[in-house]
Symmetry: C2
Subunit: 245 residues, 2 copies
DNA sequence: CGTTTCTTTGAATGGGATCAATACTTGTGG
DNA sequence: CCACAAGTATTGATCCCATTCAAAGAAACG
């Protein structure tokens, strides 16, 4: 696995420190955990009062109806922060599962709520990450309630693309995509069958391509934006960290 | 309008201070704003770096697709706290609209991030509120992706009931309900027509009743739980503040 | 008391689910 | 290295839930 240094820009680079940098400065001895693909880290309704910082890999938050129907609520990508529980709300709303091999840090409540100025700075960055998580979930919920299959899938693909591009994990419109069509259906609220149909249509229309089984290539961003009802500039402004305020 | 004292339990009552009490202790001179029913307080994509504390009334957070289709993301009830933006993420993901006459306080970022212990306590309560908001949104998203009309509507009604009961705004299964069927459709991702049909079916089956046009009465909580796939005990534990940890 | 907004009900349409069958991958152990 | 199993992708056929369109009551409101 790659070292976490990937997420830390070279010194001298003029930028706001990332949440990870900031946290590691506050808690230099934080323990780094890892999980293999498919591993469930937390079960819905389990006790949990902590947060999570993802260093590497993809992680899904999901919920299930009594009959077993599953919905993925959010996907964490490298560098992301997520509130799972809090001291006064110590119940995990979602199950947490590794969609790929992953490395992460668990943040205990006491690790961020102290009086020191560097912790205050850390909290600012955490608050911003929470706002962006809420933005993503809102966009997804909007399309779950009001969009059709093409709208939802175009949105999902663009969301992954924009977020991965911001951390340098794309080449052109191409990126590693570790989700099966089943999982993509759980994210978009569609059956695996209809995910397949809709993606094949996108492919026939030249919107996307599958260069390898584990990669995807967005070939027509404008068309995908149009289908998903997204304005890329506005969208980036909403869900990406701004490095130079 | 009622005084904010409604939300502050009588002295001598053994309990954890609510977020509102805690905030008013930290910022006693905070300005209280009010808005009439139907008023839009914030527009999607507007600048916003603050949070909101609702003292009285119902407030909706919503998003819109380019064609105008609207989805309500979350509804705030009296006593609720919501993160709208942050210093490092100063964009509102949602529009904010008063569903009834409402009174609220805007919380600036600097008002909660200081080193004082009472602010640390306030942040603990804020973090818990954010976790519960995420829980609600996750439950809604789950049903938006995987539930049918009956499931979604039963969930929505139960969510309002459980939250209102916790703050003493119900009598039996009965409570004031200021949303039109149109708005309820925007919350559950259904057309107003289908909301009407499904609610009438609930009524015929004895699950609910409309004692007055602005009130609703949940007459069979067990049946509503079964339709929505909710276990009331677990659900309360997830979305309600615990007053005696 | 007229006007707007909201609710209610019917009929027709359609998008996506489900069921089913076949290929294609990937991984495992003999 | 191959045989087999398990998971994943693809495509067709059918069905059903919810949308849309339409029109008429009912309630709220100035």
């Amino acid at each position: 696995m790659k070292p976490q240094v990937d997420l830390v820009p070279p010194p001298g680079d003029r930028h706001d420190p990332s949440l990870i940098e900031c946290f590691l400065r506050v808690q230099p001895k934080a323990q780094i955990d890892s999980a293999r693909k498919g591993r469930t880290l937390i079960q819905e309704d389990d006790f949990a009062d902590h947060s999570m910082l993802l260093l590497e890999g993809w992680i899904a938050f999901s919920k299930m109806l009594p009959e077993g129907e599953t919905q993925i609520i959010d996907v964490m990508l490298p560098g992301d922060f997520a509130l799972i529980g809090a001291a006064n709300a110590p119940v995990a709303a979602c199950s947490v599962e590794a969609l790929s091999d992953a490395r992460f840090i668990n943040i205990r409540p006491a690790h961020a709520n102290g009086p020191r100025p560097d912790m205050a700075r850390l909290r600012e960055l955490m608050a911003a990450e929470i706002v962006r998580t809420q933005s993503r979930t809102s966009e997804l919920l909007l399309r779950m309630g009001r969009g059709n299959a093409a709208n939802r899938l175009a949105y999902a693909l663009l969301e992954f693309y924009v977020r991965l591009e911001a951390i340098g994990l794309t080449r052109g419109g191409r990126f590693t995509f570790p989700m099966t069509q089943q999982k993509l259906g759980e994210f978009t609220g569609l059956s695996n069958v209809h995910v397949c149909r809709t993606l094949r249509r996108f492919e026939r229309e030249g919107l996307i391509a599958w260069p390898t089984p584990t990669e995807i290539d967005l070939r027509d961003l404008d068309a995908l934006c149009e289908r998903s009802g997204i304005d890329l500039t506005v969208f980036r402004n909403e869900i990406l960290a701004r490095r130079t305020p």
